[in-house]
Amino acid sequence: MEKLSFRHTTSRALPGAKAQAITGVVASGNLEVLLERTLPPTECTVEIETPIRGYGEVWEAVVADFVARAEPGGLRITINDGGARPDTVSLRLLQGARLMEV
Amino acid sequence: MMLAEILASLFPEGHTVTIADGLISGEGPFRGGRLAVIGIDGDTALGVDGACRLAGDVLDVVRRGGGTPILVAIDSDSQRMSRRDELLGLNEYLAHLAKTLLLADAHGHPTVGLIYGHSAAGAFIATALATRVLVGLPGANPSVMDLPSVARVTKLPLDRLEAMAKDTPVFAPGLDNMVRTGAVQAVLDPDLPLADQIAAVIDAMPEDDHRDRLGRERGGRPVAEEVAAQVVRDAALG
């Protein structure tokens, strides 16, 4: 398994009050994303465990794009990956952020 | 040990245990009363017909009452793998057999499993694993799946699996690993009278299902006990 970890600063906290959400399932081509509102309001971390090695740069780009779009300040995001494609990862991350905005 | 030797060691004064189609059934004198014996011999697969017969035998013992202990002696294959067995609802027959053993136990009939040969998968769960205490004899070989099959399913090389099996009791076949998992409480000594050893097992029956505690103590299931206990602690009706 490969472990990746990214830390970002955002310009705002993600709106909403939901403390925690989970979306997706660990399965072939899929992933699960756990989101927890436990960080200072303008910080965001994304930790990933994936069985597919050597795609750190792709993950870095997908995560950076997500952070720019969602501004998920305050969230600790943890991913168990089952070998999802980048578009699936993006979709799941945005879904997760939306669940937290309730 | 062979079944004949086991029965001789259990019942030095003789017994009425018979074997037909690989199914063991009968009883013998035991501590001033009787010890009922059911089981599977000769690496026989357990199908709907066999499970139904064994369950009937267990219910007969329960109906007669008197707290007669039941020994479940096992040297079986896995469940019988066939279209007919599944068509007829093998899951119900195996579950029913397990339930009769659990009911017997609840009705004051101590149930002891004795694995002396092979057993696997559904046959193992429906018989030996459905007793209050399961013990083994040296040479017994319980398994969920043999390593070559595990290699096929997990797509891992056999030699790597064999290496992993040495220090990972959670998945590797064999009696020692089932002891470490807590499923098998103890391994008996074939050179001592089995009657005395089974009597001692019955006298020391655990009150609750403590297989997960044994699994933690022996390192074969490091976290199961703790996880189950946490659920009990944290669950609340709302």
Binding site: P51, N80 | L87, G89, S143, V144, G220, A236
Partner: protein, 314 residues
């Protein structure tokens, strides 16, 4: 990406009652099954109680190990609920996966809920944790017996993509009542397992029609292997679960003697049948070939006309 992403969260819906049970995730099933917002998970994903064994095999883990347990309300009544996620490792029983269900059943002895609901979706034992999974299944069956003996119904709901296979089929057989849908399969050896071990002449696993009529929900319901047949929606499973809770048989000698007679009779009546359609014909179904295509409503009508498929012998 072959996996279709269709769970409730993906649709952003709060309640998806018309949602397919088969397609829904385990969490979506629980959310739709219980009264809105009533589910309280125990050992939630934030506790990261993940398998200590899967990393040895270089396999990804899930936060909940594929088993979600907790409490909630069903039409106002307090229940305990467990759901397997069939897409994670085929819903198979590993050490933590199994221990969570064992713990839930032990909690039921203490809490005395109106029922314990088990949402099966499993291929059986997780081979990477085979000994732990197999032992856990034995522990679950013992715990179910104790819960039932204490008067708490244990209701199994089967309609997931992984079915209820292997040890899952055995656990299902110990439940007080079973609800099954068309897509729910209950069996010990799966089609592939039989074919691998005994050859395609014994069981052609690619013959999906054969799989459904040998192990599928309709066959199990017709022969008494399940007690209720539900449409493949979360709402239908909710209604069926509610109906079954009040009808749970006791766990005692009389029940098991009745089950013994029921199973012996099945062997006598159908032991020589080579195909499910023969059994259905002997049950009194006029046109056995038409059964797989029957709608739920027509299938219910058929069940009523047969009049002997409901029993308390479980």
């Amino acid at each position: 990406m072959n996996e279709r992403i269709i769970d409730l969260a993906a649709r952003g819906e709060g309640r998806g009652w018309a949602t397919s049970w088969y397609e829904a995730s385990a969490r979506a099933r629980i959310d739709g099954l219980l009264d809105a917002g009533s589910f309280r998970e125990v050992i939630g994903p934030e506790q990261r109680r993940m398998s200590p064994h899967l990393p040895l095999f270089d396999l990804p883990r899930a936060f909940d190990d594929g088993m979600i347990v907790g409490s909630g309300r069903l039409d106002g009544s307090a229940v305990l609920v467990a759901a397997q996620e069939g897409r994670f490792m085929g819903g198979a029983f590993g050490e933590i996966h199994g221990a969570k269900l064992v713990g839930l059943l032990r909690a039921a002895l203490k809490l005395k809920p109106a029922a314990v609901l088990i949402l099966f979706d499993t291929g059986g034992v997780r081979l990477q944790e085979a000994n732990a999974g197999e032992t856990a299944i034995a522990e679950v069956m013992r715990a179910i017996m104790r819960v039932r003996a204490a008067g708490v119904p244990v209701i199994g709901l089967i309609g997931g993509r992984a079915g209820a296979y292997g040890g899952g089929g055995l656990i299902a057989g110990t439940c007080s009542r079973l609800v099954v849908s068309e897509g729910g399969r209950i069996s010990v050896s799966g089609p592939e397992v039989i074919e691998t071990n005994k050859g395609a002449e014994e069981f052609d696993s690619r013959d999906r029609a054969l799989v459904w009529r040998t192990m599928g929900g309709k066959h199990r319901r017709l022969t008494g292997g399940a007690d209720a047949y539900a449409d493949d929606t979360i709402e239908a499973f909710r209604q069926a679960a509610l109906d079954q809770i009040g009808r749970a048989p006791a766990f005692d000698l009389a029940t098991l003697e009745a089950e013994q007679r029921r199973l012996e009779e099945r062997l006598v009546r159908f032991g020589d049948c080579r195909d499910a359609t023969e059994i259905w014909g002997q049950l009194g179904v006029n046109d056995p070939e038409s059964v797989p295509a029957l709608t739920t409503a027509d299938f219910e009508t058929l069940l009523v006309s047969l009049g002997e498929t409901t029993h308390d012998a479980r």
